[in-house]
Structures are given as structure tokens and as C-alpha cells.
């Protein structure tokens, strides 16, 4: 009964906030917001793509005899000494009977290409740039290895190069990009919405509507209504962006959506996980912001109070992003376990690791913390928003009071 009333009241508050926000001109700007980074991305896209494609440490599988592979590896070591500070392609020996196509799908280590045909008739197949550093380095290694083998004056041999759209290495690279993109999206959205939530609360405190609300419905309902209205608004925004983005990709790119590198869990699961982790992240951070906002009565006070929380959130984001590229490492696991960084870490993980069960565990873990933080923040909100309830006391003050 009490819970039903709370829900009903929160719905009335939430519906008003949602309608007011979605019907405002500011929402149009909110929807247009992602265009700015997209335009920036388009401007620098060519450079970015090139850097990204070659930035990951490439691993080339070599189908060769043990001797030839050892010779090639020695040449690689020499090259490493010459081009110190640059990434040099890593080599891994594959069994001579191994299939090229199988090797191109190998994820541990993620193979970017396959070199076969020995030192005399080398053939490379892989997802690299035709004129990129991987090809140049392989040429140098082959020449050096052949000279060292017994033909010091041997002329260079042309390596036949076949470019593919994908390899395990290029997919791994694209996935880490997806992981970082997902984390950045969550971070920016959460910060943006928590700020909007605070502004609304301050506006209501200053135009005295809050007193009318508090006289009619439980303060907890105001808290929950506001929090979930903004969540609904942002989910609507995400839905619009995803639909618009998918339409744009389908219309303007060769091959459409199928051309996009698929996250490890697959697109359907990933697209389902983005709003879930966004909701968790927003509820965790938004609740803290709302609790803080209740303490303040002016925008200046809010800025002062929210600054440490914003900085803490930047640290959490940075913490979660250290796990990208090594999702089973200590840092990634720690970021996934710590409640406030967990949504960022897990959306990164979803892009890189196919297993789905960790997401169920993470969801339950985060939901537990959402419940705890919501409870604490709602209590803080209730005490502060209208200076209601008994004043805060430290445990020793309570003991002193009960003793007296």
C-alpha cells in the first residue's frame, strides 16, 4: 500500500519531469549533442583509423620451419634495436600444417596476418594497410633473414601481399576501440545527465515548487521520480542515437551494419547491455549527485559540492579504462568489482570477451549497490532538501544524547 503510493507519486513527479524535458528545446540540443563528436571524428577519421589500425601490437603467424622462423626472429630482434621506441611486429610460429584461414581467426594471441612460403617465396595475408609499417617491417626482416642464411648478397625477394578485411588481430583492435567508445559514451552521458538533474533540482528549490511537492507526496517519491524521469529521457536519447547511427551507417557505408567490427558478445547483446550499464552507472552517480544537490541552495554551491564527485568520476573512468585490452587482468577485474567503476569496466569487457555470465553477476552486484546508494542518497535528500528530519549526528553524539 505504502509502496504503491510511493510508486504512484514518483510516477506523477517523473512524468512531469520527463514531459517537461522531452518537450523542451533543450532536449533537441541534447539529441544533437552526439553530432559534435561525430563531426569531429569525421574530420579526423582518416588519420584516426590509420593510427588505430597500426597502433595495436600486431602479431603475425609464420608458417615456416623452425630454422627459418628462428632466423626471422633474430632479424626481428635486430630491427627492434634499430627502431627502438617503435612498435615492431611480433612473430609467432605456426605449425606448417596449420590452415591460413584458421590462423587468421586465432585470438590468443590475436593474429593480424599470416606469413607463409618460407624465405624464398614469402606470401602475406592479413588485415593491415598496404603501405603500413607491418608490411615494411616484414620486408626488412625477410631480406635480412635471407642474407644471414647464407646468401649475403642475395637480391631482395618480392613478398606477395594479400589484404583481407579482417583478422583476429584487427578485430581485437576494433573491439578495444569499441570498448573505449562504450566507456566514453557511458561516462559522458552520466556526467551530462547528473548535471542536468542537479540543475532541475536547484531550479525547483529556487522557484519554491519543491515545497508544494513535499507537502503532497513523500520526499522519497520526489527523489525517485526525478531520478527515473531523467533516466527515461536519456534512454530515449540513446534509442534515437542508436537508430540514427545505424541508419547513417547503413546508408553511407559500403556493406552497411555488417561491416562494423562485432563486439565479443555480439551486437544484440551489446546493444542490450549498453542501456543496462548506462542505467546502473547513472543511478549510482545520479543518486549521489541528487543527495549532494539537496544540500545546496544555489548553483554556485552545487558547483562547489559536485566538483569532488565529478573528479572522482573521472578517476573511476580512467581506472576502468586501464583494463581495456587486457580484460582478464587484475586492473580490469578490480574495476569490474568496485561498484562505481563496474558499469564502465563491464561495458568494456562486453566488447572484448564473449562470455555473458559475468554480465549477469555484474548486474546483480551493481543492482545491490544501486539499492544501497539510492537508500542512502534518498535519506540524505530527505534530511536536507527541506531541512526535515532529525539533524545528522555522529555515533558518539548519539551515545552522549542517550546518556543524558
Amino acid at each position: 500500500m505504502k509502496l504503491a503510493r510511493l510508486g504512484r507519486s514518483a510516477y506523477v513527479i517523473g512524468r512531469r519531469d520527463f514531459t517537461a524535458t522531452v518537450m523542451s528545446k533543450a532536449f533537441l540540443l541534447f539529441l544533437l549533442g552526439p553530432l559534435f563528436p561525430v563531426l569531429m571524428g569525421a574530420a579526423f577519421g582518416g588519420i584516426g583509423a590509420q593510427i588505430e589500425q597500426e597502433a595495436q601490437k600486431p602479431v603475425v603467424a609464420v608458417i615456416a620451419s623452425a630454422d627459418e622462423f628462428a632466423q626471422l626472429n633474430r632479424s626481428r630482434d635486430k630491427l627492434s634495436l634499430v627502431v627502438r621506441g617503435e612498435r615492431v611486429v611480433a612473430l609467432t610460429r605456426a605449425d606448417p600444417s596449420a590452415s591460413r584461414d584458421q590462423l587468421l581467426k586465432q585470438e590468443k594471441p590475436p593474429v593480424i596476418g599470416v606469413l607463409e612460403g618460407g624465405l624464398d617465396q614469402p606470401r602475406f595475408t592479413g588485415a593491415v594497410l598496404a603501405d603500413g609499417p607491418t608490411i615494411h617491417q616484414l620486408h626488412w626482416m625477410l631480406d635480412d633473414a635471407r642474407r644471414a642464411k647464407a646468401e649475403p648478397r642475395a637480391p631482395p625477394v618480392a613478398m606477395m601481399v594479400t589484404l583481407t578485411k579482417r583478422s583476429a588481430g584487427s578485430v581485437a583492435s576494433a573491439r578495444s576501440l569499441t570498448a573505449r567508445g562504450g566507456q566514453a559514451l557511458l561516462f559522458i552521458l552520466t556526467i551530462l545527465l547528473a548535471g542536468m538533474l542537479l540543475s532541475q533540482l536547484i531550479e525547483e528549490k529556487s522557484n519554491k515548487v519543491i515545497e508544494i511537492l513535499a507537502a503532497a507526496v513523500p520526499v522519497d517519491a520526489i527523489f525517485l521520480g526525478k531520478l527515473f524521469a531523467m533516466l527515461a529521457m536519456s534512454l530515449l536519447g540513446i534509442a534515437v542515437w542508436v537508430a540514427a547511427g545505424a541508419a547513417a551507417i547503413a546508408l553511407w557505408t559500403d556493406g552497411g551494419l555488417g561491416n562494423l567490427p562485432e563486439p565479443a558478445v555480439g551486437w544484440p547483446a551489446y546493444l542490450a547491455l549498453v542501456p543496462v550499464y548506462f542505467a546502473m552507472s547513472y543511478l549510482l552517480i545520479g543518486a549521489v549527485f541528487l543527495g549532494i544537490g539537496a544540500q545546496a541552495s544555489t548553483v554556485r554551491e552545487v558547483q562547489t559540492l559536485s566538483m569532488p564527485v565529478t573528479m572522482a568520476q573521472v578517476v573511476l573512468f580512467a581506472f576502468a579504462s586501464t583494463g581495456v585490452g587486457n580484460p582478464d587482468g587484475m586492473q580490469a577485474i578490480a574495476a569490474a568489482v568496485f561498484p562505481l567503476s563496474s558499469p564502465f569496466a563491464m561495458i568494456g569487457r562486453a566488447a572484448e570477451v564473449p562470455a555473458l555470465w559475468p554480465h549477469l553477476a555484474a548486474f546483480l552486484w551493481q543492482a545491490l549497490w544501486v539499492a544501497l546508494i539510492l537508500r542512502g542518497a534518498a535519506s540524505l535528500f530527505r534530511r536536507s532538501v527541506l531541512k526535515s528530519g532529525p539533524a545528522f549526528r555522529w555515533p558518539w553524539q548519539k551515545q552522549r544524547q542517550s546518556a543524558s
Binding site: V12, A20, S24, V209, E211, A215, A216, L386, G389
Partner: protein
């Protein structure tokens, strides 16, 4: 008074803000269907008292009961509240604002819009129904908020300084609205620092000064605390009749003013006639709420409310 007939009941309410005790042991009993006024100067604790009664803030100690509920918010659907500092969403249309205020109290939105339209039409604001609040004058916005306060047909209406900021015409309209609601059996509880409003409207009052209730009871009971005032003009300026004038009588020009002696008017008249006063005019006035307020709360409180002290009033 039988607790069953009380719309609002408070016992020993205390509210402490840090070192300040804003409300200090307030006890009130508002009968159902009454128009009840809380009088006091600014800062006396009227608003805090109303907020405590409505459950907007919790008391430091003491109990309150609203329409039979110990938790005031449980009665929210039967209560209408107009706070002193009016607040509406500026971008909302009038009709939506009224429906929203009703929805907060449990009235379905559709019904709220329907009743809102009727209320707006009844207050000559039908043309403004679809216009945003920010386009309204202050008086019109206040009217819209007041309509939002009654749209869900509450049993109890609580108004905090409802007349402040209204011009004389709108004050008259508000008084009429309060009377209409009371005639329908709705309990009205309002705070004011203007005694005249309370005197015209209220059956019962509480006088609050410095967070404490100095008086609580009927308006007649408050007046009854003072003896009637005699206003006397005589042809003779001196003579034996002067012995009939009690000590403490005030004189303003030719007129004497003093409390009617406990023995009543007849012995006074006899003494004045026998003493050769040559009575020009003599009137006995029942004291007003203003006089009662000054007597109960003190002249300082009256001054704080912008009310003249009795001597000044007479002058």
C-alpha cells in the same frame, strides 16, 4: 473538544533549527468545518507551524494529527496547501499546472484537466487555460495556484499568508472563495499577519508570538478577555464627575477612553450625571480582535505586524 471532530490537532510541537527554537510547544485544535486563523508577526513561527502540521518537516518533539492521521502525508489526498512563497513551473500551461497539482494529490490527470477548465472559467481565466504560467500576471498566477489547491476537492485547505501580494479586489475574491469552501463544509486553516482578515473570516484563532501560542480559542473568547471600552465627551472639563473616571483612562483631545468598570454602565452613568459632567456623547464599544491581540501578544508584536498600538489608533 472531542478529538473526532478535529480536522487538525497538535500537541506540544517543538521545532529546533540549530540553536533556534522556531516552534516552542505549540498546541492547536482546529474543528472540522471551521475557518481557523493563525495570527502572528513575521518570524513568529506561523509558517514552520503549518509545515509541521502538513508533514513537510518533522517536529523535534510533540505530536500532530491531520484529518485523523498521525502521519500527515497519509491524508494528502484530502488536503490542499497554498504555501507562502508561491511556486509553479513557468513553462507549464495553466490547465496543466492545475491538473498536475491535482495529480499530486491523487486526482487523475484527465479529471484534473476537466475540473481545471471549469475552475478557470469560473474565475474569468478560461482564455488563459492553454497559456504558460510565465505569461500570467502575479495575481493571475496566484489564482491559478489557488485553483490547483482546491481542484481535488479537499476536506482541509491550508493557506499560508494567502492575502499577501494580492490587491484589494483579489483579496475580496479570495475571501469569498474561502467562505464558499467553508459553506461546503471544508475546513480552512490559514496564517496571516493582518488581523482584519482573521477578524472578518475566522471563528477560531491561535495567536503565535516567538514560536509560542499566546492564545487559542474563539474570536469572541479573545475579545471577551477585554472589558468594553467607554468613549466619553463632556461639556464640563472638571468637577466631581471626574471621580467616576477610572485610573489609567486615556484622553485624546476632548475624548476620554477607558475600560467599562466591572460594576457596569448604570453606576458609571449615575456618577457622571450626579457629578455634573454634562455628557455630550457616550458610547460603549466592544473591543476588536486588534485590541485583544495587543492585550494578548503585547504591543511589540502588534508593531511587528504593522498594526498601530491602541493609543496611536485612537489618535
Amino acid at each position: 473538544m472531542d478529538a473526532g471532530n478535529l480536522a487538525v490537532e497538535a500537541r506540544d510541537l517543538v521545532k529546533q533549527f540549530g540553536d533556534t527554537r522556531a516552534v516552542d510547544g505549540v498546541s492547536l485544535a482546529v474543528p472540522e468545518g471551521a475557518i481557523y486563523g493563525i495570527l502572528g508577526p513575521n518570524g513568529a513561527g506561523k509558517t514552520t507551524c503549518l509545515r509541521l502540521l502538513l508533514g513537510i518537516i518533522d517536529p523535534s518533539s510533540g505530536t500532530r494529527r491531520l484529518l485523523g492521521h498521525e502521519r500527515p502525508l497519509e491524508a494528502a489526498s484530502q488536503v490542499g496547501y497554498l504555501p507562502e512563497e508561491r511556486g509553479l513551473y513557468p513553462a507549464m500551461t495553466c490547465i496543466e499546472a492545475i491538473a498536475f497539482l491535482g495529480a499530486l494529490r491523487g486526482l487523475p490527470l484527465k479529471e484534473g484537466r476537466q475540473r481545471g477548465a471549469e475552475l478557470l472559467a469560473g474565475h474569468d481565466l478560461a482564455d488563459w487555460a492553454g497559456k504558460p504560467i510565465r505569461t500570467l500576471s502575479k495575481g493571475m498566477a496566484q489564482t491559478v495556484q489557488l485553483l490547483g489547491t482546491i481542484v481535488h476537492k479537499p476536506r482541509l485547505i491550508v493557506l499560508d499568508e494567502p492575502f499577501s501580494g494580492l490587491d484589494a479586489i483579489n483579496q475580496g475574491k479570495l475571501e469569498a472563495l474561502i467562505r464558499r469552501q467553508a459553506a461546503e463544509g471544508v475546513t480552512i486553516l490559514f496564517s496571516t499577519h493582518v488581523i482584519a482578515h482573521a477578524e472578518r473570516l475566522c471563528e477560531r484563532i491561535a495567536i503565535i508570538a516567538r514560536g509560542k501560542v499566546a492564545f487559542e480559542g474563539g474570536v469572541d473568547e479573545a475579545r471577551g478577555r477585554l472589558r468594553p471600552i467607554v468613549h466619553l465627551r463632556t461639556r464640563e472639563s472638571d468637577g466631581p464627575w471626574r471621580s467616576a473616571i477610572p485610573e489609567g483612562a486615556r484622553r485624546s483631545g476632548d475624548e476620554w477612553m477607558f475600560e467599562l468598570p466591572a460594576s457596569g454602565p448604570e453606576p458609571l452613568l449615575k456618577a457622571l450625571i450626579d457629578g455634573g459632567a454634562g455628557i455630550e456623547t457616550l458610547s460603549i464599544e466592544r473591543p476588536g480582535l486588534h485590541d485583544a491581540f495587543v492585550a494578548i501578544a503585547g504591543e511589540a508584536a502588534a508593531r511587528a505586524m504593522g498594526e498601530p498600538a491602541p493609543a496611536e489608533a485612537a489618535a
